[in-house]
Amino acid sequence: MSMNNQGRVTAPKAITSVASESFSGNKALDQATKLIFETGSFNKTGIDFPEPKGIKYRLGGLEQTKNIELPGLSEPETLRHYVRLSQKNYAIDLGVYPLGSCTMKHNPRLNEKVARLPGFSDVHPLQPIGTVQGALELMYELSNWLTKLCNMPAVALTPKAGAHGELCGMMTIRARLDADGNSHKRRVFVPESAHGTNPATAVQCGFFVDELPANDKGCIDMDVLRLKISDLGSDNDIAGIMLTNPNTCGLFESDIIEISELIHTAGGYFYCDGANFNALVGRVRPGDLGVDAMHINLHKTFSTPHGGGGPGSGPTVLSDALKDYAPVPYVVKDKSGRFDLIEDINDISMGRLCAFHGQMGMYTRALSYMMSHGSDGLKQATEDAVLNANYILASLSDLMTLAYPGHCMHEVLFDDTFLENTGVDTLDFAKAMIDEGYHPMTMYFPLVVHGAMLIEPTESESKYELDRFIATMRGLANRAKSGDIKSFKAAPQHSPTKRVDETLAARKPVLRYGS
């Protein structure tokens, strides 16, 4: 997801407190943690090995003769180092993590357990097919769930995250266009509100971006789209559109069916960014909206953990028009019930996206999540996510300003109008949330809204947690309006680290130890 300050690097104005007052540098549970480079040494190790036999090397004279200056630690030191570091992190298991567009839902631990079963975690991607039938069957089952939930005929499992799924979809579209002799079609419509990966992907696939503005309801301005298409006339170079639905304002694109018809009539394809599919599962199927390709972030909608930045998984569902152009490899099942992996590229496939077969470790977790919920539970989860977001909307919209009126889907978007003339900005507000024990919402994204605050509670929050969160947000909004800006500017005070100097980091990059 997009980040906090959209390039607004911030430098704290004043040093608001002195360095640690304890002798140790610790603050109770918050332990000072040196770098491994400052505590370890290259000749120390936490692993016992047998002695080498002293066999002659066959390295062609290219052996490393110098010491490798990587610090080693014993096992107890290692445990301490990482446990101490872990305690400086916020996490879903600790509290509400309302990062809009990121879908920080609960990560069931059953999923961790099944992902570690040896038949999935301890198999090599190039073992003979007959020895990995269980793993292939799991991929096949996952495909079945995904294609049914989407009402789409096929899915390419390999993409390794959402943005990689975008590549997969857009390259598949390109392959189809080229196969049809439409290599001149390179224009891709991307709404201004789109996630940064969308325009970046379009360009990486050799397309160019034609930006679409939003109307005053936060959806695509249809007049502009219609005009753009008719203006092109016989110079039609439309490859397609990349549209997020629900969009990044948390709103269902209500003209989506007309959009899809317009694009198809123009000979283009409809890519849907499915990062927000968690608002639709079990209630709306992308295939019924005319979608040609859509990635699904298993690490959002289907609960695989974010792990501090990854790994993800971005299976991409494909329409009949595109499915023959899918990347390799993919799983097939023959009449006897045996599974096979098609790994060789045929003439029309878009090719290969990565080594091997994608993110098995995420497939297991996602399937476990789906089976646990079932079709009934998945639908309920969708409804609860939308209900939770609307409950926050209804409980805050008198104090904070909604970017667009009406109900929302799974996330609610506020702007910073309510902070006008208070001296507090979105960033300050977010930092004050940290002191209250909350992870801030997504800030300054989407770009179509000034000082955006995008809140996504997910279905994992209880009413009790939501009520506490709402009360806190109300308290902060009232405080800002009362003119108490000092506490906002100094926030966060209670976090292990105070506001960091991002300007310094970018101006004088120190990107590794000892540089």
Binding site: R58, Y82, G119, L126, L511
Partner: protein, 446 residues
């Protein structure tokens, strides 16, 4: 449903606060024709025990690497990972955190990334590294695209010996942004024909060492020739453990080093998730893809870490970004970094020596088998064997005897020779495993 905290009473109260009659009203914006009225035809919810039972049943249908003599490599490697690694990466604070966008409450992840970047830079012999890519193959593809940006030239030469999947993934991405990708024919022996092809049009030359056949390539002459023509040398590796014993690519003149980090800390996982390593020199850092963590101070004057140089990235630069990557391999970086901290430099070297010794013993033994010939002059922990029979058939028969005896080269490249087998022996292989494999091979080749 055990994962959903709301009950019907909560839901009713909340609907009232919202001011709608039922949840349908919240979906009023969905066009009527797209609203589903019935449940999708999939099984209903199930208890933990049932899901676990099903998953276990599936798991049991595969043969896992630890349960048999195991000799597969070719881009993914089986090593022993210390128990503390998996224990630590399952801590909620690491596992259930997002990308560290709020540095004040993410110093755990950020310091790990800074340490990870430092480790990768040292390991590869480069000045800087990023906070990971998806895997080695996508890192390789991105490196070629980066070389085009740095040199403003369009030709990429893929030297023989690059893992065929890496070549294909690179071709997919790089050709779509107008790079002319020249993939040279696969060859086992490291011949330097590639040198003759480097010219002033060349943006980069991509060389894997140890290469897919296991052969160790001297990168220095290639780097020299590339630099003469203002081209970049992109050095690739698929087995990080090799760098415990082989001179680093940085010392051999590489401009960009990319590789697969899976061998340290990350299991086989049937091919993913793995972790892509990406390193370069400081002067090119602003063209690098992916996230980067940097050191700075906080308002109290204490050292702190933060994601930086983000003006390269998609969320700021959108269609002008260096890459579209967003989510990367975070938790695998952590696993890599913990395992590497446990090893230390000397430990890594020892692990590397043990790998090399396993492979040496195996190679010597295989060379004595009639109908099998080791083709390598050099190798680290994997090498290439020419068989008198179709390698795929041999591997299948071995599997029937519960031995996972390597990867037929034709599995990676359909057009490739059918009689070539890639065999890997890491530290987990013992003398019994070697004997089992060689006896079985002797029977097959008789």
């Amino acid at each position: 449903m055990r994962y959903l905290p709301l009950d019907n009473e909560d839901r009713a109260e909340m609907l009232e606060v919202i001011g709608v009659r039922n949840v349908e009203d919240l979906f009023g914006c969905v066009p009527k024709e797209a609203r589903l009225s019935e449940l999708i035809d999939l099984p209903y919810h199930q208890p933990e025990s049932e899901v676990e039972k099903h998953m276990t049943k599936l798991s049991n249908k595969s043969i896992s690497a630890s349960s048999v003599p195991f000799f597969c490599g070719a881009g993914a490697y089986k090593h022993h990972v210390p128990s503390s690694v998996d224990h630590l990466i399952q801590r909620s604070e690491f596992l259930t955190a997002y990308t560290p966008y709020q540095p004040e409450i993410s110093q755990g992840t950020l310091q790990v990334l800074f340490e990870f970047q430092s480790q990768v830079a040292i390991l590869t012999g480069m000045e800087v590294a990023n906070a990971s890519m998806y895997d080695g193959s996508t890192a390789c593809a991105e490196a070629v695209v980066m070389a085009k940006r740095v040199t403003r030239k369009h030709k990429a030469i893929i030297a023989p010996g690059l893992h065929p999947h890496y070549s294909l993934a690179t071709d997919t991405l790089a050709s779509s942004v107008g790079v002319d990708v020249c993939i040279l024919e696969q060859k086992i022996s490291s011949d330097y024909k590639v040198l003759d092809l480097i010219d002033d049009e060349t943006a980069c030359v991509v060389v894997q060492s140890p290469n897919v056949f296991g052969e160790i390539v001297d990168l220095t002459p290639i780097a020299e020739k590339a630099h003469l023509h203002k081209a970049l040398l992109i050095a690739v590796f698929t087995e990080p453990v090799a760098l415990g014993l082989i001179k680093s690519p940085g010392e051999q003149g590489a401009d960009i080093v990319v590789g697969e980090g899976q061998g340290i800390g990350v299991g086989l996982n049937f091919g993913g998730p793995h972790v892509g390593l990406f390193a370069c020199n400081k002067k090119h850092v602003r063209q690098m893809p992916g996230r980067i963590c940097g050191e700075t101070i906080d308002a109290a004057g204490n050292r702190a870490f933060v994601l930086t140089l983000s003006t390269r990235e998609q969320h700021i630069r959108r269609d002008k970004a260096t890459s579209n990557i967003c989510t990367n391999s975070g938790l695998c970086c952590l696993a890599f970094s913990i395992h590497m901290s446990l090893l230390g430099g000397d430990g890594l070297r020892k692990l590397a020596i043990l790998n090399h010794e396993s492979a040496s013993l195996l190679a010597t033994r295989i060379d004595k088998i009639k109908g099998a010939k080791v083709l390598n002059n050099t190798f680290f922990n994997e090498f290439t064997v020419k068989l008198d029979k179709n390698a795929k058939d041999v591997v299948h028969s071995l599997a029937n005897k519960n031995i996972l005896g390597g990867v037929p080269f034709s599995r990676l490249s359909k057009a490739g020779p059918k009689d070539i087998l890639l065999i890997c022996a890491t530290e987990i292989v013992d003398e019994h495993d070697i004997e089992s494999l060689c006896k079985a091979l002797e029977e097959e080749l008789r």
